[in-house]
């Protein structure tokens, strides 16, 4: 049964060495309020599974917002398809990464977006692994079994079953049923299903029956813990116009470019 609790209470469930999964595609849909609580919890040697690792533009962290790169000092491994490289390098010194690498403390495992979703799905379904056609002949296949089936080459992808899923939803009811809004849905429903223990941050908690049974995306059985973001917090629904304004200023300062514009590598 889902419990309603605070972020601190929820984080007590996270331990050293855990595998954590979370969504990230900029601010929207990413559990920034829970990231901040995880930093405060101070656990270490975590493995993080995340579709993107995109640093926030300047000016956001100063206002109390948190992106997943903030977690890097607590990680021993990152499994991700996309690293906002320049932003990460500007946040942490090159010396910092050199030290991590020398100490063997930060392992990076690259994946394709679809394969990461499929590995989480496989974990959720209790599978031993799947043969995926994506990433053949690329860095993604390194160290993985290859197999040709009916003339097509595949890579063996192992399931991911995170110890803790950090999920961002729009609203929950008191039974833990979740709805999302727009493109903020992302990997959140997949992470909720794949994780052994699922913690959700929401703008609002409503009574059962308020969310239509046809609109519920994540049924409450997958949700262990619902955290309502306090009204005064920078992540609260009340303060979203302020965030939007800040984001707009950043975008205007850059011209036509977008929040995630600095994710583009090299030539592109």
């Amino acid at each position: 049964m889902s419990e309603i609790c605070t972020a601190d209470e929820a984080m007590a469930r996270v331990h050293d060495g855990d595998m954590i999964a979370a969504h990230n595609w900029g601010i929207s849909g990413s559990p920034g309020y829970l990231f901040r609580a995880l930093v405060e919890r101070g656990v270490k040697d975590l493995t993080l599974c995340i579709p993107n690792l995109i640093p926030l533009p300047e000016g956001f962290v100063e206002r109390g917002l948190t992106d997943p790169t903030i977690l890097i000092p607590q990680l021993k491994k990152i499994i991700s398809p996309f690293f906002g490289a320049r932003g990460i390098m500007s946040r942490f010194s090159e010396a910092f990464f050199d030290t991590l690498a020398k100490e063997g403390r930060l392992e990076i495992e690259a994946s394709a977006h679809g394969s990461l979703m499929e590995r989480l799905h496989a974990g959720a379904m209790g599978l031993g692994g799947v043969y995926s056609p994506v990433g053949v002949d690329t860095i993604v296949e390194e160290g993985k079994e290859k197999r040709t089936i009916d003339g097509v080459d595949y890579i063996f992808e192992r399931p991911l079953r995170p110890d803790v899923g950090l999920v961002k939803a729009d609203k929950a009811d008191t039974l833990g049923n979740l709805v999302y809004r727009g493109s903020a849905r992302g990997a959140n429903p997949v992470i909720a299903m794949a994780s052994k223990y699922t913690i959700v941050e929401v703008f609002d908690v409503v009574e059962p029956g308020v969310l239509e049974p046809e609109m519920i995306v994540t049924p409450g059985v997958f949700v262990d813990c619902v955290v309502r973001i306090p009204d005064e917090d920078v992540y609260s629904e009340k303060r979203r116009p302020e965030l939007m304004q800040l984001l707009a200023e950043v975008m205007l300062a850059r011209g036509v470019q977008s929040e995630a514009a600095d994710i583009e590598g090299g030539e592109e």
């Binding site: 595609w25 900029g26 601010i27 929207s28 579709p51 995109i54 398809p81 996309f82 690293f83 906002g84 490289a85 390098m89 690498a101 990076i108 690259a110 994946s111 394709a112 977006h113 679809g114 394969s115 979703m117 499929e118 989480l120 799905h121 994506v134 990433g135 053949v136 002949d137 690329t138 860095i139 999302y180 727009g182 493109s183 903020a184 849905r185 992302g186 990997a187 429903p189 997949v190 995306v217 979203r240 965030l243 939007m244 304004q245 984001l247 707009a248 975008m251 205007l252 011209g255 036509v256 977008s258 929040e259 995630a260 514009a261 994710i263 583009e264 590598g265 090299g266 030539e267 592109e268």
Partner: protein, 221 residues
């Protein structure tokens, strides 16, 4: 030196490949610019989980921006009747279904249609694969939009990739600021030249050999 296409003109030419009724994924970078030129009746997909949304919000329309309406590149889009949202597992099922055509950027394309897009080095600590490998594998038709040459003048249309491969034998069409090139089983076919450029001049800028199509023509916009 002769003029190459502006990014805007390149995007306009590329958007002509999309027909009413097509579903198309627009990747990060140059492909995003096509969003404003997609013909009526064509439907755009974004890998983070949206289908059928409206045009992007320009920098002058800040009040139209919605924090929860972002595309794969992080740009804000406007709503449109009939749009749908879904999770990333559904999105990549769509991407791998062969039902979408796909526009991606590129770092290099080989004459066999191999694509390099995610990294500049084999030892890159922070690769940027994203959805590119899935999109390249699953596309009904894969169109690469890129500058013809690197900033230091090297050809990005090559005999063999020198950068890390993202997917083999996946590219159908290359659109650059110099040319429209089709990848055929017999090699690369030069279909269109940027106005003011001859086939010979484009070949000079291109490492891979180009067969000039019988009906080669000047690009139109």
């Amino acid at each position: 030196m002769k003029d190459r296409l502006t990014e805007e003109l390149l995007a306009m030419r590329a958007a002509q490949e999309i027909r009413p009724g097509d579903y198309c994924n627009l990747g990060i970078g140059l492909p995003q610019l096509c969003a404003s030129h997609v013909p009526a009746g064509a439907i755009v997909q974004s890998e983070n989980g949206a289908l059928g949304y409206g045009p992007l919000v320009g920098p002058d329309d800040v009040e139209k921006m919605d924090l929860d309406f972002i595309d794969a590149g992080g740009s804000f889009f406007t709503p449109a009747p009939g749009m749908a949202f879904f999770d990333m597992s559904t999105s990549f099922t769509m991407i791998r279904s062969g039902r979408l055509m796909s526009f991606l950027g590129g770092l290099q394309v080989s004459e066999k249609g191999d694509l390099a897009i995610h990294s500049l080095s084999d030892t890159d600590e922070f690769p940027q694969i994203g959805g590119s490998m899935d999109l390249a594998w699953g596309a009904k038709r894969l169109v690469i939009l890129m500058t013809h040459n690197t900033s230091d003048g090297k050809s990005k249309v090559v005999k063999e990739l020198t950068l890390p491969v993202s997917a083999r034998k996946c590219v159908d069409l290359i659109i650059t600021d110099l040319a429209v090139i089709e990848v055929t089983s017999g090699g690369l076919a030069l279909m269109e030249c940027t106005p003011g450029w001859t086939s010979e001049e484009i070949q000079e800028q291109t490492e891979a050999p180009l067969k000039v199509a019988d009906d080669v023509k000047e690009m139109e916009f």
